[in-house]
Symmetry: C2
Amino acid sequence: MDLLEKKKQELHDRGITCRIAGVASRRMGWQANPNGLNPADIAAQVSSAVSSVPPVSPVVRPFPKVKTWLAAAQADVLFEATSLNVESGQPAVDHIRAALEHGVHAITANKGPIVHAYRELRDLAAKQGKKFLFESTVMDGVPIFSFFDQLPAVHLQGFHGILNSTTNVILSQMEHGLSFDEALKKAQELGVAETDATHDIDGWDAAVKTAALVTVLMDVPIRLDQIARDGIRDLTPQAVRNAKRDGWPFKLVCRAKRVGKEVHASVAPEKVRVGEPMARISGTSSYVYFETDLFPGLAITEENPGLYATAYGLFADFLRAVS
Amino acid sequence: MDLLEKKKQELHDRGITCRIAGVASRRMGWQANPNGLNPADIAAQVSSAVSSVPPVSPVVRPFPKVKTWLAAAQADVLFEATSLNVESGQPAVDHIRAALEHGVHAITANKGPIVHAYRELRDLAAKQGKKFLFESTVMDGVPIFSFFDQLPAVHLQGFHGILNSTTNVILSQMEHGLSFDEALKKAQELGVAETDATHDIDGWDAAVKTAALVTVLMDVPIRLDQIARDGIRDLTPQAVRNAKRDGWPFKLVCRAKRVGKEVHASVAPEKVRVGEPMARISGTSSYVYFETDLFPGLAITEENPGLYATAYGLFADFLRAVS
């Protein structure tokens, strides 16, 4: 909402007006008003909800609520922002499917639906003449997927990179002498790591991002259990400091490579030589190096993303959908 | 033409058929056939032309030939590939203007028209409902301009990078002990430098690329005489080798920065610290680091572009125009 306010002039210049026609969350329930909800009211509800005791049954039931709610809101665009469900991608998949079936553009910051239902949702969106967009899922709001839309007829053979900020911040902090727990706490204070950072530390987040890139950009659906996955939990502060001192700092590296009709993919801590671009990626920065048929090496680096980087991904998807 | 052949299947899959309806060059004159010229014949003419003595009057007269020729060819797309005219951007500007006025998409590999007539040609293209595309002008075929199309409402504050391959190859070779002349010869043998490499060595090519990025991506037209420009001619092999040895290798660096309503831009050899990403950009690789309001640092690296990288830029523009 902040970003919509910040970029008001740009929206106006593009002839776009928008209002929040509905909002739904575990604590706020399903609210809809086709004439627009008051952003200040929503913000107040969000902050009071955060400080209040969670209700007894915090599960969002997706059906038939979603469609009823979409109909009540008369919305044109759905922003899906439930948290990642590694096993099934739910309830995000159901939300997005419902939106597209209802004739509403679906924009998500959730990687689950890409890993669990990309082809179905892509094809459904095409059939409905609506957009299914997810640019904020990998590398904050950097338009990685859209970049490849601008590389028509180029074949991606593989990639490697650093895509998880939490582990990268933890490793950077451990290099500076902090213990694992202190480093994790620091990452949480910085707002990078969530209270339960298991998904990050054990490499799940990086694996899901890898799967999303493989599925969309290499056009090979890959299950998470097909990705060799190792986290940073077993790295001792001493090992991390020694590696840094020796000029081979540890990084949690994502890799994918096309082998015949398959893609082999992995997430694991690696010692990276200090001259390599990945060795410079510290803190919340991220990096991905693509190997393609016409461009042997094409890399994108995002240094110290701003406060609004992820929100920007959703905002830019909104512009893509409605422009 | 090779690339069109290589990517035939992709064109077919997209429902695109194409033929060469016309060709024009100083040596081959103006040829047109709406039913298609034979690519093998054209290739034969090109190679015989290369080995033959140039005609007495090698100047292409743009008018009224261009429109007559376009009409005879009944073409949908013009590829403009005359060589760079730093002073006026001609005759490329006239060719592109004629194509757009004639209702033909204009694709160019020539940076001149961007520096000398970007706004006019962009607005003319919009008015005519045709495309004016130039993705192969900077960083070979890497879709730099299109990448920013995917960053809507983002404001570019400045950039720096290495955008000229010839000087970068020469500097890399001088670091390996070659004299300036030997290094230049090597760059020519590699097919990177032209016979007359003055434009590269004196920083003109880098300045024109800088001007193109400023004009298009920062939306501030800048004249070449507003760019502080210094080439690599005065660097001695010893200075280049010493700098490399000391961990501060010389690079020809392009810079631009928004200052109020203006943009300050420069091209000059700089010593770059070895830990910096630019220090790793050697040979034909290139690099650009963008500073934007929402993404403080967004960098694109192109390592060792393939044989078809520049041709790909034209090919991808063709797909953008006709898809």
